[in-house]
Symmetry: C2
Subunit: 495 residues, 2 copies
């Protein structure tokens, strides 16, 4: 069976758009068909059922003979859409998993079709110029008083936190220690492990927040007897924790780091992967006071920026801090080429080949403006406040705290942790809702497991939120298992 | 000025395809318009001119008020396409920078619209099941006799090489040393630096290939006096070097590593980022004999697999080797969730949030089959052989060697290194061709600078290759600077 000839057409050059158009029609139809077949925030049945269904739909994944691009796209995209947890459904609210904007997705298509690679100018002439400009503009938002703000584009918060720790390891004297709260993201620990650094010093955060007094104490801990100087430290604070969206007290922490710098080489990194875009909003901006004083800041525009994955950034007030990333590879940035004026891009990432994620960010900012993006931030925070209000008004539920950003922790009043975990899994398995989980102090002051709704859909309506609350209430431990599972009807799908 | 309401529509759920369709029309029109305005492999004028033109076309990158999605996409995509180095143009042949297949680009649109994130099952039910299956199928191609072949999906060769070194650091006893050839990719050095390992032991490769005898010698070097045992070693070989596409003698190297394992903990990693897909081709497969014996293999399907960036893999014959990547984050893979049957995905990457790059790979394989992809590999290698033939037949040019994969090194006969570098830059600046550069032994046995054509366009025609040769010949050192620069006319653009 010969492979259909149209399977091998290219996306680029003058003929590319003509080759793409019919294929995109097939993809859009398959997306619609898959969403209709799913008819809810995620497929019902749990992992085994989803895997069985996928196998049934697609058959072998590595065939010898091809079936052409239309069959391939129709089959795989329908199967993926039918089996997706779609963040555009207001009941898909477990994680920092944003529903992407159509304009960003459309721009990302152009990135894939042109396929520039950001490791050398001669693979990405205009794309690298665009990144150069917008990265600096975005960094200036975070560090308006920095001497030379700049930003690296990363695969997300995990890579940004890794690079922040790497820069501290290279820019400070040897024997770096990381100091973070128990509320910090797991990637901080992973970064230390990867980089061959000791495990971070973890400060307890019983109220979910890093305590400036604890940071002060950690920085004044006497130096080890066999070391002539106090070892350098990187303090990592969080602006928007994964568990509750809490924002560490950035200004007091920045003050303490500044005060200790006289006797101990100390840097401050803020993981603002989630909270960073509050900067755009006049309503919420003040929650980030002190952020501009960090040496490095992690920002993920695939969270409160509604980009498809990935759209990570690491900003710095002074691009001189990025010097340790510089490297030379004759085939990409030979010295005589750099002298002759070809920009040297290799020191702008840990990756070599790199997709121009800046394009979708630029298109979104141009389409919406910073004010339009701020309006989406405000809407999202308002939806979370609305949900918290519904929970607080419902005596059968306990609200953890009013949301700082858009995360709402709540639990059935008087439930056990096992019940909370089971409610979440049951809603998942029945395909009704994707809720998260978080451990935080309970009503009695002891740690407890909470249901977590991370709202990232700016268009979630009050009736969506009320329905979400009702879904949880219906999972009452005493009756939940008795009722036969049922799904929403197809008429009930939301835009 | 209010932001246009349609700027904020989402790509997902039932309404997503309707929101996307008009935006995709705008993107396709802009891609066509930009390619027509460029009318060549890259824009003329060099970095300053490209940056000036971009600024002229797009204005400010961080506006307060938005202009809506159509203006944003039209403006930015046209500017990016006009300023692209388009790998679909046969004269864009500097790097391992592939022209992507339309089917892969179309599939990638669905990945962006659905936006699954591969760090937990409840963000990617079907996408994670698809990755699970296809990753194992692809690993079985590389390691047909492995006990439990598996593959991680990475951002590319650089990350794959990093993870290979990390796994060796974690799976072997302490004090790992990397041993590689001077022909190895710079990311091997970078991995050692990142991971806090000593700089690799670099074996000279005067003929561009790692010498098995040198590997043997390096592995038998007496242990340091203060160490009770010989430190563990990771030998890194390359199947498809960046400079010349050379393939290290894999079988003899695997034999030597196996022989040394008795007295020294030793692992073998093969960086087959470029050469790996030769496995699909009955014609070229034998060049990779021995590859299956590596402990880890780097493979980039955004090179000889025609995927848009990124489509990296790291394969292993035994998934038990991946255990060091396991980690626990209560919000993503709580123990009771894993016990209840929710797949634990967090140990499958160094990233957390992660795009489903497997979808475009799956769509390509289904559309073309392995035989169809092999046909593209064969065509590409044949184009390189044709180019080498043209060069060899031309007395004014010197061919370095017949190509192993699809890289052809050549230089004007008797030219100086400065002239070679200047020819490359002049073709770039004039917007006529994107050629690479590589240092390799010259006709007199001494190192020299060569022009490098890395052919990755399976549809490059003999007349394209002849025109490329002519472009280089026309840059004769004696007249090149006298002729006024001229561009190809618009009629002359290629499909």
């Amino acid at each position: 069976m010969p492979t259909p000839a149209d399977a091998a057409r290219l996306a680029g050059a003058a003929a590319g758009p003509r080759a793409l158009r019919p294929l995109l029609d097939t993809v859009l139809a398959a997306l619609a068909e898959g969403a209709a077949a799913r008819c809810g925030p995620l497929p019902a049945g749990g992992p085994d059922a989803v895997t069985r269904r996928l196998t049934e739909l697609i058959g072998p994944t590595l065939p010898t003979h091809g079936t052409g691009p239309h069959d391939a796209l129709r089959t795989l995209v329908t199967a993926l859409a039918e089996g997706a947890a779609d963040p555009a459904d207001p009941h898909c609210a477990a994680h920092l998993h944003a529903p992407p904007l159509a304009v960003a997705v459309a721009a990302d298509l152009a990135a894939a079709a042109l396929n520039p690679s950001m490791d050398s100018w001669d693979q990405a002439p205009a794309a690298s110029a665009l990144e150069h400009r917008l990265a600096r503009d975005l960094a200036r938002l975070v560090h308006p008083r920095g001497p030379a703000p700049d930003a690296l584009v990363t695969t997300g918060g995990t890579e940004s936190n890794l690079i922040a720790a790497l820069l501290a390891r290279e820019n400070l004297p040897p024997h770096l220690t990381l100091i973070c709260g128990a509320n910090a993201h797991h990637s901080v620990h992973r970064a230390a492990w990867l980089l061959g650094l000791p495990a971070p010093t973890v400060l307890p955060t019983p109220r979910g927040l890093l305590d400036p007094a604890a940071v002060h104490h950690a920085l004044t801990t006497p130096r080890p007897p066999h070391r002539p100087h106090a070892p350098p430290a990187l303090v990592v604070a969080t602006a928007g924790t994964t568990d509750s969206g809490a924002i560490d007290p950035l200004r007091p922490i920045a003050d303490i780091v500044a005060a200790h710098r006289a006797h101990r080489p100390t840097a401050l990194h803020v993981d603002a992967a989630y909270g960073g875009p509050l900067l755009l909003s006049p309503t919420h901006r003040a929650k980030l006071t002190g952020l501009d004083r960090a040496d490095t800041v992690t920002l993920d525009l695939h969270k409160l920026g509604w980009q498809p994955v990935a759209a990570g950034l690491l900003t710095t007030p002074d691009r001189a801090a990025l010097t340790p990333l510089a490297q030379r590879a004759d085939y990409l940035n030979a010295e005589d080429d750099t002298e002759a004026g070809l920009p040297d891009l290799l020191g702008r990432s840990l990756r070599t080949t790199r997709r121009p994620d800046i394009l979708k960010i630029a298109a979104t900012l141009r389409a919406l403006g910073t004010s339009g993006l701020a309006a989406l931030v405000d809407r999202t925070c308002r939806a979370a406040a609305d949900l918290a209000g519904l929970v607080a008004a419902e005596p059968r539920l306990t609200l953890h705290a009013p949301p700082t950003i858009s995360t709402v922790l709540f639990r059935p009043a008087g439930a056990t942790d096992q019940h909370v975990a089971a409610v979440r899994r049951r809603l998942l398995t029945e395909g009704r809702a994707v809720l998260g989980r978080a451990r935080a102090h309970g009503p009695d002051g002891r740690p407890a497991l909470w249901l977590k709704a991370t709202l990232l859909n700016p268009f979630a309506q009050p009736n969506d939120l009320a329905a979400l609350v009702k879904l949880v209430l219906d999972q009452d431990p005493e009756h939940a298992d008795d009722r036969p599972p049922h799904r929403r009807s197809p008429q009930d799908t939301r835009p």
